[in-house]
């Protein structure tokens, strides 16, 4: 087990998981003296009937709570300010974020304003600007993938001033993360598949990138054995409660791993492809993951090979010669993508040229690859990637990922 010369690890989040985790959340809130929490969510989550489940669970232990479902798909400072004012006017005393990344970010923004009595959120942006615990916040994720229920960052956009504010602090970690199988039961197969691959990419990149440490490693391995086994199951049988719960726990473990050891090239290229072409994040992760593994294999082959054990089990691990294990991991990731492609009737794209929008129009024309390669140079994940990746390297990887061809590893410039 590799203990780095120096590392830090922190996940100060109370984790509750189960088929009735929401009811237990309500009990814990009542024990902590919470009287009137504000549920923050978006119209999609509310429309799917999930807030009714949360409300019902809360009303067993608490007399009052409020619901605000106005969070837009992209976090917005205006909404944050409005909801913070609502929280204050109504005398709320905790935020419960039910949803995905934008909902979590919005809830964190609200919490900063109401806890710090802030007039301008900007004063608290950056790393380490928060100096004391905020008011109670609970995160209830509605997909199994992003891991945002255990991250210490938030991004809030000021659309009027065209600004993006980033916040980083351990005080932004939610007090509680609640993983309840009921919250993901209705997620459609296509979304289930790509968010699941997002989680798998978190676990894998956390394991082979530069900031790995013993605890992030253990979280990655535990995550992978749950995710890899259950992802095809929940894609094929969305109503499987046990598999849904194991996916939620796996995604949370992967979230803990990557928020403590960071991610690399897969996210780097994924963020860039997302911003240039609007491809959903999870799909980018699914497509780039085999390439991230191949690109870094000359430096981290042995470490990647260890991932075969949680993915394939003892027999396959034992029967695969050590030097073949990393390659086997890559082929299992590709096999998973193909399986998901099949289960989603082709919607889960296996390469960039297969990515299409609702009207069937390709989202990533080949000629934008240079633009994506340039955008990737501006992304911070590159710091944690084992091998350097300049513009030419990015283009090379993007070309292969566009075609869906394995990377020619002979062309990777070793350092």
């Amino acid at each position: 087990m590799i203990v780095p010369d120096y590392y830090e690890f922190c996940c100060r989040v109370k984790l509750l998981a189960g088929h009735d985790a929401l009811e237990r959340m309500a009990d814990v809130l009542a024990e902590r003296g919470i009287k009137k929490p504000l549920i923050v969510t978006d119209k999609g989550v509310a429309g799917a009937g999930l807030i009714d489940i949360v409300s019902k669970a809360l009303s067993v232990s608490l007399n009052a709570h409020l619901v605000a479902d106005t969070v837009p798909p992209d976090s917005d400072l205006r909404v944050v300010n409005e909801l913070a004012a609502f929280y204050r006017d109504e005398g709320c005393d905790a935020v419960i974020a039910v949803g995905g990344g934008s909902v979590m970010d919005t809830a964190k923004g609200i919490n900063i304003i109401v806890s710090e009595n802030a007039a301008d959120l900007m004063a608290f942006s950056g790393v380490g600007a928060l100096k004391r615990p905020l008011k109670p916040m609970v995160a209830v994720p509605t997909t199994a993938g992003t891991g945002s229920e255990v991250t210490q960052v938030a991004v809030i956009k000021d659309h009027e001033r065209h600004l993006k504010m980033a916040f980083g602090s351990y005080f932004l970690l939610p007090d509680m993360a609640v993983l309840d199988s009921r919250m993901t039961l209705t997620v459609p197969p296509f979304i289930t598949a790509m968010t699941g691959m997002d989680a798998i990419s978190h676990a894998m990149e956390a394991y082979y990138c530069l900031q790995k440490n013993p605890l992030s490693d253990a979280h990655s391995l535990a995550a992978l054995s749950l995710l890899y086994r259950n992802l095809p199951v929940v894609t094929e049988t969305p109503g499987d409660r046990e598999a849904r719960l194991e996916m939620a726990v796996g995604a949370c473990l992967a979230g803990i791993a990557f928020s403590n050891s960071m991610v690399g090239m897969v996210h780097n290229l994924g963020h860039a492809t997302g911003s240039v072409c609007g491809v959903p994040h999870g799909l980018c992760m699914a497509i780039f993951l085999p390439y991230g593994l191949e690109y870094n294999m000359h430096k981290r082959g042995d470490i990647m090979g260890e991932l075969l054990l949680p993915l394939a089990g003892e027999a396959e691990y034992r029967e695969t010669p050590r030097e073949q294990r990393a390659k086997k991991v890559v082929s299992l990731v590709r096999r998973m993508n193909s399986k998901l492609n099949e289960l989603t009737g082709g919607r889960h794209a296996r390469c960039l040229r297969e990515v299409v929008d609702r009207d069937g129009v390709p989202m990533v024309p080949r000629e934008v690859l240079p633009e994506i390669a340039r955008a990737a140079l501006l992304d911070g994940a590159s710091v944690y990637n084992p091998e350097e990746a300049d513009y030419d390297d990015n283009v090379m990887v993007l070309e292969a990922a566009w075609e869906g061809e394995p990377l020619d590893r002979g062309k990777v410039k070793g350092g």
């Binding site: 780095p4 010369d5 120096y6 590392y7 830090e8 950056g126 790393v127 380490g128 530069l210 900031q211 960071m262 140079l377 501006l378 992304d379 911070g380 590159s382 710091v383 944690y384 084992p386 091998e387 350097e388 410039k413 070793g414 350092g415």
Partner: protein
Amino acid sequence: MELVRDVQAGKKPFKRAYVGIFLWFTGKAVQAAARSDEQVKREFDALPDDFAFSMGCLPNGPWMVVGKEEGAVKYLGGNPEGRHQHLRLKIKNLEAAFLILTFQESTAMATVRNRIITDGELPHALAVMRVLDIVEVYLLPRRIAKLAVKRYPRWPLKRKLFGRFAVYTRTLLGF
């Protein structure tokens, strides 16, 4: 007798002086490299016209500030106060700065080991880290620089020899 006594933290004058000198030297070398090396020049060209960044130690310095003034990249001294900086690379303590400036840890590795707080926009931070990597390749013998950067570059002999000569002379003579 009092149960509790107050203790004043000590000083580390030697390490402080070393870090101060090497920050000055690095600042000067960045200025020199921006004039001699095409890639460093390109990195700075892509940054805003009034771009400035600082690098130094928490809580009490020392610091170095480098920025663009009338199109030229300049070492702007050791005082980060009173001037807007787009980016601050804040090393958490003097010992960590000593590790970095004795080249036992690269800027990237120090970031990986949570020793540096990056205050500013990421693209700016990445550009500055690329510049610092190039400067390290110029200033350090290959054996040491190889440890400090992820991928030791394959430069043509001309860039390596003349570049190193130019960066050294400009750094030391300050033009």
